[in-house]
């Protein structure tokens, strides 16, 4: 079970970045199968799931960080998905703690998670009617200035 052998089990690019870090870039369609093989390979803990909004390329990059307890290696699995109607498959049955990370993904980026019953339910936000707030095209400064009253500074200090 060596990290070098990862290449043979996963369809995608495997790059050993440094000691204890592996970068794995997979295709959009291969996410679940890649994570499945990684889990069999020994990556038994899911550390986080998040996304990066590459707005210039009109893509979201979904990022899964996994940890192998036995080999003490962190694997960072990345997949690009289109920014229009983004959808991914759930990995909840592989890693039970993925559920809320995926819910957060839907809430903060608007990425739909197929197969996750909670996807789309509010988690951190309440009564949110604007764009998903972590997207790059959501301007939080503008939103804050428009919605929340600010205290105006006095011109002179008396």
């Amino acid at each position: 079970m060596e990290i070098e052998r990862l290449n043979q089990v996963i369809r995608g690019t495997v790059e050993v970045k440094r000691k204890q870090r592996v970068d794995i870039i997979v295709d959009n369609a291969d996410i679940v199968s890649a994570l499945h093989s990684l889990k069999l390979f020994g990556f038994n803990q899911l550390t986080l799931v998040t996304a990066v909004d590459w707005i210039e390329e009109q893509q979201f990059e979904v990022v899964y960080v996994l940890y192998s307890n036995a080999q003490k290696v962190v694997a960072i699995v990345k997949a690009r998905i289109p920014r229009e109607n983004p959808e991914i498959e759930t990995i909840e049955d592989l890693y039970p703690n993925a559920n809320k990370y995926e819910v957060e993904l839907t809430e903060m980026f608007g990425i739909k998670v197929r197969g996750n019953p909670d996807s789309g339910k509010p988690f951190l936000l309440e009564n949110w009617h604007d764009l998903p707030p972590m997207r790059k095209d959501f301007d939080s400064i503008k939103y804050a200035t428009e919605h929340y009253e600010a205290r105006h500074r006095k011109e002179n200090n008396d």
Partner: protein
């Protein structure tokens, strides 16, 4: 004659009130970390008759410890309305004054006194226990002189507060 008696009665009441202030135990933001040191052996605010208490019904002070998320704001307002008169609000830290370091966050309000009447602000990020104790003593003075009248202002300007609350919380009650 009657008026004088009432006035004297009120004065006695106020001076008794300021000696037993109970804080509603609600940690709304990061400033809450400085409350336990203030309560416990080192600074010991029990000396001034100030103790934390768990239910809104029996508490006198609502300390808004720092930033107020809109989700928390709704709960704070409910808690505040559940408290019985006379009640006082202390805004704690620069976040409650003007948004502080979270001025550009999409989920944190910037000016607490638009949504509920604040009797006293403590500046700082975060205020030290000495500042907290000082502010309590100042609050006692305000109560003594009848200047801590936030709960009256809330009733008088109810429409104003409710309008502002609706603006951020949406249609709500």
């Amino acid at each position: 004659m009657d008026k004088e008696i009432e006035q004297g009665y009120n004065e006695i009441l106020e001076s008794l009130r300021k000696r037993s202030l109970w804080i509603l135990h609600y940690c709304t933001g990061c400033g809450a970390i400085e409350l336990p040191p203030t309560m416990t052996s080192r600074y010991d605010m029990g000396r001034f008759g100030i103790v934390p208490f768990v239910t809104p019904r029996q508490s006198d002070i609502l300390i808004v410890t720092g930033y107020v998320n809109i989700k928390t704001l709704r709960r704070i307002i409910t808690s505040y309305e559940q408290m019985l008169d006379p009640k006082y609000v202390i805004g704690f830290g620069s976040c409650s004054i003007n948004g502080g370091i979270y001025w550009d966050s999409h989920s944190v309000i910037k000016k607490l006194d638009s949504y509920m009447p604040v009797d006293l602000y403590i500046a700082g990020c975060m205020p030290r226990p000495e500042a907290i104790i000082h502010s309590f003593k100042h609050l006692m003075e305000l109560i003594d002189t009848g200047k801590a009248d936030g709960y009256r202002r809330y009733k008088e300007n109810y429409d104003f507060y409710r309008k502002n609350q609706r603006k951020v919380l949406g249609k709500w009650r």
